[in-house]
């Protein structure tokens, strides 16, 4: 079925997938946390335009696993999630923090098969030439 890759990332580095939930369970504009095989945690978001993104669930500033509970939206057109702790915004495209260049979230690939959303178990390597 449809494969939705997070833009500008190469899914080749993912070593496997974890099934998260049915696509229609995700509330547009809201996140859920996914416990990945291997123990990492991803924050999975479905946006109102239907696109899917997954980033690391641990807030690098607040050091708690809460990113999935942040509010999503955009900043200057870039889709972002704001940490629910201290509100720093992170790009859903590449994980970088728009308020502090020194911090970033890992980015996970997302795909949908037969209405089931899966997240890659390992973060993807970002293609630095794209940005």
């Amino acid at each position: 079925m449809t494969v939705i890759d997070t833009p500008s990332i190469s899914p080749a580095t993912a070593t496997g997938w974890t099934q998260a939930c049915r696509l229609d369970y995700l509330i547009p504009g809201r996140g859920v946390a996914v416990l990945l095989k291997g123990g990492q945690q991803a924050a999975l978001f479905r946006l109102t335009d239907g696109s899917l993104y997954a980033v690391g669930n641990i807030d690098p500033f607040g050091r708690a696993a809460v990113m999935s509970r942040g509010i999503v939206g955009d900043r200057g057109g870039v889709p972002v999630v704001a940490s629910p702790l201290l509100k720093q915004a992170f790009s859903l495209l590449d994980g970088r923090c728009l308020d502090d260049e020194s911090a970033a979230l890992p980015v996970y690939a997302v795909r949908v098969d037969d209405g089931i959303v899966s997240v890659s178990n390992e973060p993807v390597a970002l293609d630095s030439s794209d940005g």
Binding site: A33, L35, G39, Q41, L44, P60, A64, G73, R75
Partner: protein, 846 residues
Amino acid sequence: MNPTVDPAQRKTAVVVGHGMVGHRFVEALRSRDEAGQWQIVILSEEQLPAYDRVGLSSYVGSWDASLLALPGNEYAGDALVELRLGQRAESIDRDARKVVTSAGDTIAYDALVLATGSYAFVPPVPGHDLDGCFVYRTIEDLDGIRATAEAAGPGAVGVVIGGGLLGLEAANALRLLGMTPHVIEFNDRLMPAQVDAGGGAILERLVTDLGLNVHTGVGTQSIEAAGDGKLKLTLSDESTIDNASLVVFSAGIRPRDQIARDAGLEVGPRGGIVTDLGLQTSDPNIWAIGECAAVEGVCYGLVAPGYSTAEVVADRLLGGAGEFPGADMSTKLKLLGVDVASFGDAHGTTEGALSVVLHDAAKGTYAKLVVSDDAQILLGGILVGDASAYSALRPLVGRPLPADPASLISPAGAELGADALPDDAQICSCNNVSKGAICGAIAEGACDVPAIKSCTNAGTSCGGCVPMLKKLLEQSGVEVSKSLCEHFTQSRAELFQIVQVTGIRTFSGLIAKYGKGTGCDICKPTVASILASTSSDHILDGEQAALQDTNDHFLANLQKNGTYSVVPRMPGGEVTAEQLITIGEVAKEFGLYVKVTGGQRIDLFGARVEQLPQIWQRLVDAGMESGHAYGKSLRTVKSCVGSTWCRYGQQDSVGMAVLLEKRYRGLRSPHKLKLAVSGCARECAEARGKDVGVIATEHGWNLYVGGNGGLTPKHAVLLAGDLDDETLIKYIDRYLMFYIRTADRLQRTAPWQEALEGGLDYLKAVVCEDSLGIADELEAAMAKHVDGYKDEWAAVLEDEEKLSRFVSFVNAPEEADPTISFDDSGERKVPVLLGVPQMPAATHGK
């Protein structure tokens, strides 16, 4: 820049002292010396490179010295500057042109720049060197004061000797450290150098109101150890302060000129290294800048003239002929929330000077303008209590007045526009920036205050000119935006109106028609709040679920490690024994940390997402409901026991508190709301510290509004007196609804009220006399809220779909989040945060 001078030809400048002025000198010389004629060696006695000593008091609270660091103070990558920290200059050999340092090094110089600053003067009072005596000059001094204050505990007495500008700053620092400050000033008024007797009287009253104990017209005769680490001060009027935990001397500063004296340089009769207007000392190869210099015999204890001297010497070393231009001794400070400003010839010493004084004892303001004998030219002034006119008045010193002097300082008088100022008027005196330079920056695209700061330096030191920067921006046609965020150009109040008028009930509908983009963490919760206060839908219904902040989404308060706290409602603080037992059992069963809140409730900390519904079920079964501690909504209605139990109670305060809390529970508002009801004027419920405070009288209820905490705590003010129950509730309905409809996002009631045009009288007219004709509508809106109220916790428990969202992991609903842990080993349970970047070890199955 690429140095072009042959290194062998290069000359050496040795700078003694790395304070603000020494640093400014190095910056100025390096930026102008494009050829690289000078190699610079800086000797710094302190271990820290130059920091913002003027801003020293801001170190109190943050305790982060890096915030005070001056930009560029480490000269990284500049081979022509060498900074030697922790190495002071011991002596000067003028004949050989060499300096010997505390490390035993000898450094040859072509030019020696003395920037040794000044030291705090400690009067020779017996006991001045006892433990617990401090000065207020360096970061180290503040660290020492802090350690002593913290060891002494809250409320301990701290004494400041000297009631000048710095003394009051020190007193405020003690206050921030939780001490009870006393200030002793030998003169008959505070800030004698800046303020006259009239201003001093108002100032004393204002700071006394803020909790300072002021002793003026007395000296300190002795300090003695009084045992137990305490100090006893005896004052010249024979009164004593017996239990001081520390003493801070702030009795003035003296130039640090010892090294110059030892080297045989000329010093002034009251100290200071004597220089000419070119800052050259009696030795042509030695210069003195900043507070250690006595320029033609005069020492200047402010940073702005110090910066001027640094610029002059940099110019001179490169062959220029710059001269010290004289100094603006203006000062403005905001101490303890009290405005004080003094500028120009504040004391009217110019021959024939006239003064115009406006002394409003009732409002606590004092304003004086000093003008020339023909009342045409402004010479100076003093403002106490309200210094808002400072930024407009100070640049006018020495210039013709644009209006009658009295009207310039009277509250209803002429508004001084930025256009009244000529282009060369100095707006920022700390950094010597003119109106022309600022307007130039605006013309080149600086469109807000931070942009002006970064390209002109204006407003970066004391900040006193920032209001003027805003005026200049407005005048040049830059609109100061009222936009909620980048997605809505409207303010919160405007969006509220739009929702009401159009009946749009979704965020997507609202942003499609009135905004742009997809929203953010500012506009989404704001719209969620507006939708919640205009209907009784469950806040997690439909699209609204995606708008809520995490607290509203999980109906609990997010704490720092990702767990939540749960606070059941206890209207008026009432709770049954059965309910208390249930709370205790829940806490025990789920391992929660329990704390009584400031609002007569019980807070249960440390619940994981998936535990929340189980906890609520137990509480709901015991007859308790959501306390809305998580929302921008009504929190608590505090009460005393009132006439039912108390010997003094005049009305049933508990009954009224319960009634009000049940009435307004769940009401979403721009900021959280707290109410209180006191049963008599003794005010045990502290009702005047609340957004709405009700105090019983013999005849009914007095209604106070607009009290709250936050950064600038406010007491509520009387809106109406001696009300019966029905009128009281009607007025509160109207007040709260009016606030909800017209306040900005996160604007508490106190600033909202203050910003209302027409102030309290206007508010009284709207609420009590229905001057806008909207009272019925406001009451109807409240009635709709009251009728539609449903417990949010219970509603989630009844809804399988909503319940399914309360899990740590969507793919492993039964798993607890393995990253959450607590430390139970100490006095209280505390959350343990994750180390980043390493991930925690996996503890679940596969």
